[in-house]
Point group: C2
Chain length 182, copies 2
């Protein structure tokens, strides 16, 4: 059993939206103001809320998990005052692939894990799954980093977006935020 997390844009929350850019697919209404993140709850007066759930690993093998866990740092580092929330959807063609086909595109062809590891520990990351919850996006990825590392973060995104895996991405919104009091 897993408890979902609600991401709610509106007047409250510890993060303030700096920008939102549509990278692929249709725009999304209601991104702006503050972002509140709460387990099992969305804000009733939110201009937009999206639910996601931390689930089991879908592609990483044991060696990759070990490498990730040795290199990564957690969320909430005092210096990591910039965040990015990236909602993504993939095509029906992606979801119809067999497990070995998705794994081969994810890593052997696109190097998703290998690329991400090179940006550790500067870029901290947490992945939420939305598709099985019936949301309009398939994933939410939350990133945190220091302002000085935003250029590196942009490089990470550029590498991933140039990969074969990204040819299956049908919708992507790149939201940047800064941590505020309260």
């Amino acid at each position: 059993m897993a408890i979902w997390t609600g991401f709610s844009f509106g007047r409250a929350g510890a993060w303030s939206v700096l920008s939102a850019r549509v990278v692929a697919g249709p725009s999304v209404a209601g991104v702006g103001g503050r972002l509140s993140i709460a387990d099992g709850r969305t804000e009733p007066d939110a201009t937009l809320s999206i639910r996601g759930v931390v689930s089991n690993v879908r592609y990483a093998n044991r060696a990759e998990l070990t490498e990730l866990r040795a290199a990564q740092e957690g969320l909430g580092r005092p210096a990591a005052t910039i965040a990015s929330l990236i909602p993504i959807s993939k095509s029906d063609a992606w979801w119809a692939l067999a497990q070995d086909e998705r794994r081969a595109i994810f890593e052997e062809q696109s190097r998703h894990h290998s690329i991400g590891v090179r940006y550790l520990p500067e870029i901290a990351r947490k992945l939420y799954h939305c598709r099985d919850l019936g949301e309009n996006f398939d994933f939410l990825t939350w990133f945190e980093f220091a302002p000085a590392h935003e250029t590196r973060f942009d490089d990470l995104l550029a590498e991933l977006r140039a990969s074969r895996e990204w040819t299956y991405v049908t919708r992507e919104i790149d939201i940047r935020l800064t941590r505020v009091a309260g």
Copy 2:
């Protein structure tokens, strides 16, 4: 985006409960009477309702999917008047495994796919995922078969329950039903 399916026990529904047996873990209250199955809805007066969602394939490779699709028949066959609904949970240890470790246990060690294929087309099957929805079970599997094939169905379950994969099953309820009018 996927829409969940609600399984509701109560006074209405096309299936009538014949028996319920706890195979592993704690019992569950409220199984009995009729079973109603509806997309995106549970019955408000249900004695028990469980939600599940049909999701993407998690372990099967392309060759296995091809083999399955060539051999299987759909739900709703007129002769398939017996059903079984089997809610299952797996341990935290299972969910903490890497993808390659779960795949190896599922197929290379436990032959989950290979066993299931030998019981096609007699035993039709549909898998629903519950864990990411926050339900008390991780999976629901729905089986349909003719009364004459119930012994074969019991053989299938015995094979799976003897596998290494089943050492990770912490809760399992075996519910048998028969199709009724309305």
